[in-house]
Symmetry: C2
């Protein structure tokens, strides 16, 4: 890698090369239904020299971390937006659930990527991911659940059990393509809306003080 003419190569490729690599990694993960992508496949997909992975990201793990952050940006922005609005806790939870399902739909490898990067829980990288995404997500949910109890909209539930059940339910369809085949169904927009409604309904029946309609 030492022989790579870093500055020159970066200029030749323009500022888009970094983003091209991330986009190619994302496309490969979706196509292969796996976060385990090779640098040679990445070179083929992006049309770029895989040595640029080291140049831009310090290595493959650095690239995966950058991809996770890129893909989490929308979801994080939504959480920050919801936290700052004057919407009711009920409305916040409903928008939050739709946001999670839509994130997993857009980036179906996202959860697996996070788990892959968190395998070594003692690493600097793990702490970075937890601080960047997991902790803000948990803090947001806890705050909204508390708000809902304060307004009388929600019963008190365990926030960790809430987190696990909501995240798990929202994630599970997006790496189980074979299940759609067994049900003669399609993972299309109409189904996704029906699933958002199903999970929202289920979660609200669990936390709402109103009896289900």
């Amino acid at each position: 890698m030492g022989a790579l003419p870093k500055r020159k190569r970066a200029e030749e490729n323009g500022i888009g090369s970094r983003e091209q690599l991330l986009e190619a990694a994302s496309a490969l993960m979706i196509a292969q239904q796996s976060v385990d992508i090779s640098l040679s496949a990445l070179a083929g997909q992006s049309g770029l020299n895989s040595a640029l992975v080291k140049y831009y990201f310090g290595g493959k793990n650095g690239m995966l971390l950058a991809l996770m952050k890129r893909d989490a940006a929308n979801a994080l922005a939504q959480i920050e937006h919801l936290a700052s609005t004057t919407l009711s806790p009920t409305a916040k939870i409903k928008l939050h659930i739709a946001g999670i399902v839509n994130t997993y739909h857009r980036v179906p490898y996202w959860n697996r990527l996070v788990h892959y990067l968190l395998q070594d829980s003692e690493s600097e990288q793990s702490r970075e991911i937890v601080d960047f995404f997991i902790r803000p997500l948990i803090d947001f949910q806890r705050k909204v659940l508390d708000e809902g109890v304060a307004t009388g909209e929600f019963v008190s539930v365990d926030p960790m059990n809430f987190y696990f059940s909501v995240l798990g339910a929202c994630d599970s369809p997006f790496f189980a393509h074979y299940v759609f085949e067994l049900f003669d169904s399609d993972n299309d927009d109409a189904w996704r809306k029906s699933y958002i409604n199903y999970v929202t309904d289920m979660v609200m029946r669990m936390i709402s003080t109103e009896k289900a309609a």
Copy 2:
């Protein structure tokens, strides 16, 4: 691999070698929190020559398939047992949820192993897994949901959405150790019981015709 004295080696190691390899693979997956284990790590863990993987299983993928089947045996037996009992549909769903959570607790890598093996959805192996486990599980759930509607215990819900939400909720805690740390909590027996109660309560509120207590 051709040079391996197959019969002799199998006799030397006795009938336990096959099971020793599966047990070593299982232990490695739990320790590494990943299904991506190497043959050299397997040899180190089991104390056996990794060439035996080819001898007993035809290769690494064959061994992973055998491990998946071994680990699914208890869960499949429970499904068959529940299907044959005269318990109420409500009792069956409650025992089924506890069974799934307990299976993931015992074999936390199980879901990832299934997904890993199902990556190539057109393969013979994929069809074998679907027929061996996924289809019986879906058929069982659908049958119990229908029974519950017939007895008046359940409202009618979409069985695919039921499947995704239940399996996802039951699975998600078992590959997210960092979440327990963020909540200053432990993945212990007391927590697991509370989570079974949480998911059961949430699911029953969704499907039961009785208003939640």
